[in-house]
Symmetry: C2
Subunit: 439 residues, 2 copies
C-alpha cells in the first residue's frame, strides 16, 4: 500500500516529521518551578527576575594589600623623600570594629578589608618599605610570624590620589538593580552572582525525571549469556544516557518482555517518578507489538489524553507513538525498537520535549549546512525524510555506514545526521545538505 493511497486522516495517515514534532510540543509545558539550593540549580532555568538586595561591594574596600592613609600625608612622597607615617594597626578582611586613621597615621590594610574611617586612599605595600626601614618591599610578612608589622613606622615612596585602590560600595551592582532575568540558564558565573548577592536558594524549573524502558522478549541484559534468537538490550542504556545528555535525570528501567499485562504494570509502577516516559519497541504492525496494545488500555481517558500511534514519512523511525498517561497526564513517547531508529527519534522528538519541560528556549540540536563528501550519490525512495549518520568536519559531511536501522557500530562513529528531504531520491557528492549536529 503506497503512501499516496493512504487516507489523510486518523492513524493510517502518513505524518511528516514536522507535523509530528509540532503536535508533540503543543502538548508539553515547562515543569512547575521549585526552590533549589544554588548548586542543585546548575543548568536549570530561572523562573523569576532576581533583583539585588544589597549593593556589591557592600562597603568601600581595598583592592590591594597596603596602607590606608590620608592623601595629604603622602603628597609629594618619593623613594628619596618618603612620607613617614605611624602604623596604628591592621585592618583585615572581615574586620568590623575599625581603627580611625588620623593625620600622620596609616592602617595596614588587606585586600577586601573595609576602608577605615579617616583614610582617604590606599597605597600598595610595594610602594612602601613595609615598615622595615629599607627599600621597597614585595609584600608583607605573615601576621602570625611577624606581629610587630602591624605597628611601628612605614615609609611611603609614592603619592596616591583620593580613593586610589579603593572599590566603591555599589560599584559592582546596586541594591534594587536587576541581577538576572527570568529565563536565564544558571551556569557557574550566574551561580557566582546569586551567591554574591546572598541568595542561597533559587526558584527554577527542575530537571525532568525521564523513565526509559525498552520492550522485547529477545532482549538480554549486557554481561549475560545470549541464547538462540536473543540480542543485548542497548536502547535503554543509550536513551537513558541521551536523556541525561539533554539535561534530564534519567532512570533506566531496562527491558520488559513482550507481554501487555507486564508492560502495563511496569509503566503504572514507574509513573510515580516520571515527568516523561520513553519506551522503545512494540509500536509497529506486528502481532506482538505490545506497547501499542498495552497503552491503548492504560490510556489517559480524559480529554486530550491517551497515546496515539502513527506512521511518519521518515527513515529511520517510521512508527511512533505519543500522548499522555496516568492521573497526571504524564507525557509518553513510544519510539521504534531498532537501535538507530530509537536514537534518531530521541534526538528529533524526545530531546526537544525534555528541554521544553526544563523551560529552555533552545530546545533543538543545532543545524547547519555542509557539503556532502561521498564516493557515490546517496539514493533513497521518495516520500520520506531520511536521517543518515555522518561525520561533520569544517563544512563538509561524510556518511558513515548505511541506511539500515540496525547499524549501531556506524552510529557510534557519527557526530551528525544528514537530512535528505522527502522529495529527493538522490543526492550527488558535492551537494550542500542540511546537517543536525549531535554535539
Amino acid at each position: 500500500m503506497s503512501a499516496a493511497a493512504t487516507p489523510a486522516t486518523g492513524q493510517d495517515r502518513l505524518w511528516s516529521v514536522d507535523e509530528h514534532l509540532e503536535d508533540i510540543l503543543a502538548t508539553v509545558s515547562p515543569l512547575e518551578p521549585i526552590e533549589l539550593q544554588l548548586l542543585d540549580a546548575q543548568g536549570c532555568v530561572l523562573v523569576d527576575d532576581v533583583t539585588v538586595p544589597v549593593s556589591l561591594p557592600p562597603f568601600d574596600n581595598s583592592s590591594m594589600d597596603g596602607y590606608a592613609v590620608r592623601v595629604a600625608d603622602i603628597a609629594g612622597a618619593s623613594e628619596e623623600f618618603p612620607a613617614a607615617l605611624t602604623v596604628i594597626g591592621d585592618v583585615a578582611a572581615g574586620a568590623a570594629d575599625l581603627l580611625r586613621v588620623g593625620p600622620g597615621q596609616a592602617a595596614r590594610i588587606m585586600t577586601g578589608a573595609p576602608l577605615p574611617p579617616g583614610a582617604e586612599t590606599v597605597v600598595p605595600v610595594e610602594w612602601t618599605d613595609g615598615g622595615l626601614g629599607g627599600g621597597p618591599v614585595t609584600g608583607m610578612r605573615a601576621r602570625s610570624l611577624s606581629p610587630e608589622g602591624a605597628f611601628g613606622q612605614v615609609r611611603v615612596h609614592r603619592p596616591a590620589e583620593a580613593r586610589a585602590h579603593v572599590r566603591a560600595k555599589g560599584s559592582d551592582v546596586q541594591a534594587g538593580d536587576l541581577a538576572l532575568t527570568a529565563g536565564t540558564v544558571l551556569g557557574p558565573p550566574q551561580i557566582a552572582l546569586l551567591a554574591a548577592i546572598g541568595r542561597g536558594t533559587v526558584r527554577v524549573r527542575p530537571r525532568p525525571r525521564v523513565v526509559v524502558l525498552s520492550t522485547g522478549s529477545e532482549l538480554v541484559q549486557p554481561d549475560e549469556q545470549l541464547a538462540d534468537g536473543q540480542i543485548y538490550d542497548s536502547n535503554s542504556f543509550a536513551l537513558t544516557a541521551a536523556a541525561r545528555d539533554a539535561g534530564a535525570i534519567g532512570y533506566r528501567v531496562g527491558a520488559v518482555a513482550d507481554d501487555a499485562d507486564t508492560l502495563r504494570a511496569t509503566i503504572e509502577d514507574q509513573l510515580v517518578r516520571a515527568d516523561l516516559m520513553v519506551t522503545t519497541g512494540g509500536v509497529s504492525v506486528g502481532a506482538y507489538d505490545v506497547v501499542k496494545e498495552a497503552l491503548s488500555a492504560v490510556g489517559d481517558t480524559e480529554e486530550g489524553g491517551g497515546v496515539e500511534f502513527r506512521k511518519l514519512a521518515m527513515q529511520p523511525g517510521k512508527p511512533q507513538g505519543f500522548g499522555s498517561i496516568g492521573p497526571d497526564h504524564t507525557p509518553l513517547l513510544a519510539l521504534p525498537g531498532n537501535p538507530v531508529s530509537s536514537y534518531v527519534s530521541f534526538e528529533l522528538f524526545v530531546r526537544p520535549v525534555i528541554r521544553t519541560l526544563m523551560g529552555l528556549k533552545d530546545v533543538h540540536r543545532p543545524r547547519t549546512r555542509a557539503v556532502l563528501q561521498a564516493d557515490k550519490a546517496l539514493t533513497k525512495a521518495a516520500g520520506r525524510r531520511q536521517f543518515l549518520r555522518g561525520r561533520y568536519t569544517d563544512g563538509t559531511v561524510t556518511p558513515v555506514g548505511g541506511a539500515g536501522s540496525h547499524l549501531i557500530a556506524a552510529l557510534a562513529q557519527a557526530d551528525a545526521l544528514i537530512v535528505v528531504p522527502e522529495d529527493d531520491t538522490s543526492v550527488e557528492p558535492g551537494t550542500e545538505v542540511e546537517v543536525v549536529l549531535l554535539g
Copy 2:
C-alpha cells in the same frame, strides 16, 4: 617595583600565562582507570580498545513484520494472482525453537525474529492479505486478541528476492572487529554499541573528585545576615559549579576563616576525597594570606612536591599557587580570591587540569578570533595579558563591564573572554582579537 626590575628566577620572577599553564600540566597525569557500569561511564574516556565478542546481529533476522517464505513459492505473485501459503505458526522476536518452513508454507514473522530454517526471504505483511482473505492489510492484529492469525492461509501479492528484508548475521559488526578505540569519549551512541555487544561494564578514567574551598574571614554563607565588613562567599559555589561543568565531581567545602591552623586541618581532612584541591584567596602579599602560610607547612616534602606561589603577567589573576600536597601528591591549585580572578583562573588553569585527569585530549576551552565592537579603545598597562569579559556573537565580541576583578554582575552577562596580549596597551574598535569561548 616594575616587572623589568624583578629577578628572573625564584618566586619573585614574573611568569607568563603560558609558562604557568605548561608548568602545571607537566605535573598532572590522567587518573588510574577503573571498571564502571556503562551509565556511570558516560562522558568518560575509554582506556582500552574494545573488540566485538559476538557478531551483530548474532543471527539472520527479519527487518519487517511479515511472512517468512520460500522464494519459489511466491514467484510471479500479484494481487490478482496471489500465492496462497499455509501459515504454520508465529516466529516472534526472541524465539529459540524455530519452525521449519517447507514448500507451500509460511511462518508469520516479527521484526527482529530469527529467519526460520527453510525460509529464504521475508514478505512484509503489507504485501499480503494478512490471512484475512481480502485485499492488502496495513498490519497484523495483536496475537493476544486474535490467536488464529498465526495459522490458516495467507495470500501473498508480490514476489521477493532471496534474503529480502533479512538482516544478515554480522552485517552490523563482526566478531573480532574493533568496536571502539582507546581514547574514545563515551556518549550515548558509544554506550549503545557497548551494550549491544554485551558489555555491561567498561574500563575508563573516572571523573576527578575536585574539592573546592574558599578562604577569608570576611566570607559569610548566602542566606545569612551580613555584618559590617562581611561579604557573601561566592567563589566556592562558582568553582564547584565550574568543576562539574568541566566533567568533575565537585565537592564544595565552603569558606574557611583566615587562620593557618584551621585551613591546614581542613585541607588535610579533605584530602581523602580529593583528586584535585582548589582554594581561593590568601595567595597574595598580605599579612593574612593564610593559604600561602598554611601550604608551605603541609607542603609535600618529597621530590617534586610542595606548593609554589607565583606572580603571573596576567590581569585578573596575578597571584597564583600550585603544586601537590599530602601522601598521594594530590595536585592543588591556589587561586586568587577576587571572584572574577578566581573564575578566570579556573577557566585557564583548573579546567585543563580536570580534563587532563580525565584523559581527554581536548582540555582547553575553544578559542576563536572576533572583531572588537566597542565605543572606545580598550586600554591597559603593558607587560601583562588581560582577560576581559565579553559577549560573542557571529564573529564579533563586545566587552561587558570593566577590568575590575570584583565585577561579578558583568561576569554573569559574559560568554567569552577577550584576550589582550602582554605588549598591547590599546586595542581599537574594529580590531580582530582572540576570544576564549566559555560555552
